[in-house]
Amino acid sequence: MADNNKKPLLEIRNLKTYFYTEDGVVKAVDGVDLEVYPGEVLGLVGESGCGKSVTSLAIMRLISKPGKIVDGEIIFDGRDLVKLGEPELMKIRGNRISMIFQQPQSALNPVFRVADQIGEVLEVHQSLGKRAGDARAIELLKLVGMPDAESRAKSFPHELSGGQAQRVMIAMGLACVPDMLIADEPTTALDVTIQAQILNLIRDMREKFGSSVILITHDLGVIAEMAERVAVMYAGEIVEQADVIPLFQKPIHPYTKGLIGSIPVLGRVRDQLDVIPGSVPNLVNLPPGCRFAPRCQARKEYNLSICTEKRPALHDFEPGHKVRCWLYQDDEQHVAPLKAKKTAKEKK
């Protein structure tokens, strides 16, 4: 779906964000490359602690102590956000890139009314006055399908349900018609029926405003329904990146495979689910080589020693389908067992 000829709206190159804690340096994001094209929905999927939220916060430049962006560039609309000063950033945040969060109720300030919180964005970025801001806020609330928008605008966040609060967040995020909306697990805290509402809303809004969306979630179902392109993250790096259909139909990274195999799917009853043994590595003491190697069944199957020695690079497996795995990549001393097959197949 991605048109590679199009110029990406956002391009992340070798982004490294580390947290300097008392236990050591947590390499939350360690060399992420990613691009988002205008108008697309990019799904960023991964388990908790894989660095997907940190990546999104890094884009917003909202990493606070003890975290720090240590390397890489985030080029948005031709400018490297990493190098921007606070005043310029302020013009981008909430205006050109906006963000919605996982816990909508705690993401809203409990002591201000809903309309004021939406209006604030307009006040800052569009110099709208209080009254105009309020009117626009109500308009936006109507747009996001808030029932009884006028009176809801006057309520405090705690008076809203989770779904309503997320609508407010979306309204706030869209207030300045941003180029990009980052939705960090927007439905995780919500019930399934409400989740369906919110996902529909995001989809509608994307169509209406034409913004690109980075949808961060751990729910593969949500990704399958929403995303056009998907990046799979594991332990601070992207392990696979492809359009949504190839990714689900033909996942190639052992982690992606395991992930897809491990979730129960409605209507497809299996006696046992697939299992990825072990658990996510500690981001302080990362294994040398491939980060997934300790849990990787394929590594054992093919008896690859390089996996524990050298870190694989994210490379094109197919056009538009990138993977970070020694199964598909050669090295001076190492011949990728599956790459050969693929090329052989292709030749046929």
Partner: protein, 332 residues
């Protein structure tokens, strides 16, 4: 895929987090708080000084060198050749010896008060928070009511009553003997110290009871308590095996801050003339006895004033360090 993956095979590399007991973690974090570590060193030093007071002091507490009033630091006793490291006070008592013995009393008073008040507070707070209902209501209303009463005035009244009337609260001889041994005092002189402990602890437990109750209410929400109940645990089991150990962190913090408070409170009572009385030396009554010399011999009040200040500061720092180290928000 390999659906017959055996669960037992999943182990091995799994424990990726370093093996440390909570205690080790706390200690590790505490060590990072430099001021708290410094405070700990200072407090340890002071404790050692007072602990070895009988060996360090070259004079007895009540020993008076007649006429040797206000001797300067390092003065030498002519008859015996012993050194008054910190000089003498207004009636010729060796100031250093008094200071370290006084520290023993002051710190014992603070420690025991904290011990009693925290224990009482923990038990009452735990019972109140755990059982809730009418009992909780009565206990907490009582605590709140006691807290509405300004404590210093009340301390004054009560200590004046208790100090005066020996029969009002008879203290068992064993208590006096034990405390006397700790503080190196004649058991009968110990009475005023024990009374002040009772007075201080009598008010001190209120705060920790509230704290404990809050903690218990919070812990009650945790599922491990429910888990214990589902295993058939009795209330006592839950309170002692789960509630109290889990609530200890803030209690320990409040105890160390409490130590600071008690050291100062004892001194304040002494300053106002309602504290531990003279045959028993404390930093507080040494300070109050010499505060009249503030103008001309400032070191006299300064010498006992400084340890009060330092101890209070150190306990505060230690409390702060412990708070940081025990902060549940930081991951364990």
């Amino acid at each position: 895929m390999s659906a017959n993956m055996k669960v037992a095979e999943l182990t091995g590399e799994e424990i990726t987090i370093q093996e440390r007991t909570p205690f080790q973690i706390v200690m590790m974090r505490f060590r990072k708080h430099r001021l708290a570590m410094a405070a700990l060193v200072v407090i340890t030093l002071i404790f050692m000084l007072t602990l070895f007071a009988p060996y360090l002091a070259n004079f007895e507490v009540t020993e008076i060198s007649v006429g040797d009033y206000f001797l300067p630091f390092g003065a030498v006793d002519e008859d015996t050749g012993r050194v008054h490291y910190l000089g003498t006070d207004n009636i010729g008592r060796d100031y250093f010896s008094r200071l370290i013995f006084a520290g023993r009393v002051s710190l014992t008073v603070a420690l025991i008060s904290v011990l009693i008040s925290e224990t009482t507070g923990v038990i009452i707070g735990a019972i109140s928070g755990y059982y809730g209902g009418a009992l909780d209501n009565v206990l907490m209303r009582f605590v709140e009511f006691m807290l509405t009463i300004p404590s210093l005035p009340l301390l004054l009244i009560i200590s004046s009553m208790l100090l005066a009337n020996e029969d009002l609260i008879p203290i068992p001889a064993i208590v006096l003997n034990t405390f006397g041994k700790i503080m190196l005092l004649n058991p009968r002189d110990t009475r005023s110290a024990v009374l002040i402990i009772m007075v201080l602890a009598g008010f001190g437990w209120l705060g920790s009871a509230q704290l404990m109750r809050g903690m218990v209410l919070q812990i009650k929400q945790q599922t491990f308590v429910e888990a214990a109940r589902s295993l058939g645990a009795s209330n006592t089991w839950i309170i002692f095996k789960h509630m109290i150990p889990n609530a200890m962190a803030p209690i320990i913090v409040s105890a160390s801050l409490g130590l600071a408070g008690y050291v100062v409170a004892e001194a304040a009572l002494a300053f106002l003339g309602f504290g531990i009385q003279d045959p028993v030396p404390t930093w507080g009554n040494m300070l109050s006895a010499t505060q009249t010399f503030m103008m001309d011999k400032p070191w006299l009040p300064l010498v006992p004033g400084l340890p009060i200040f330092i101890c209070s500061l150190s306990f505060n720092y230690i409390g702060d360090g412990l708070r940081d180290a025990l902060d549940p928000r930081l991951k364990m």
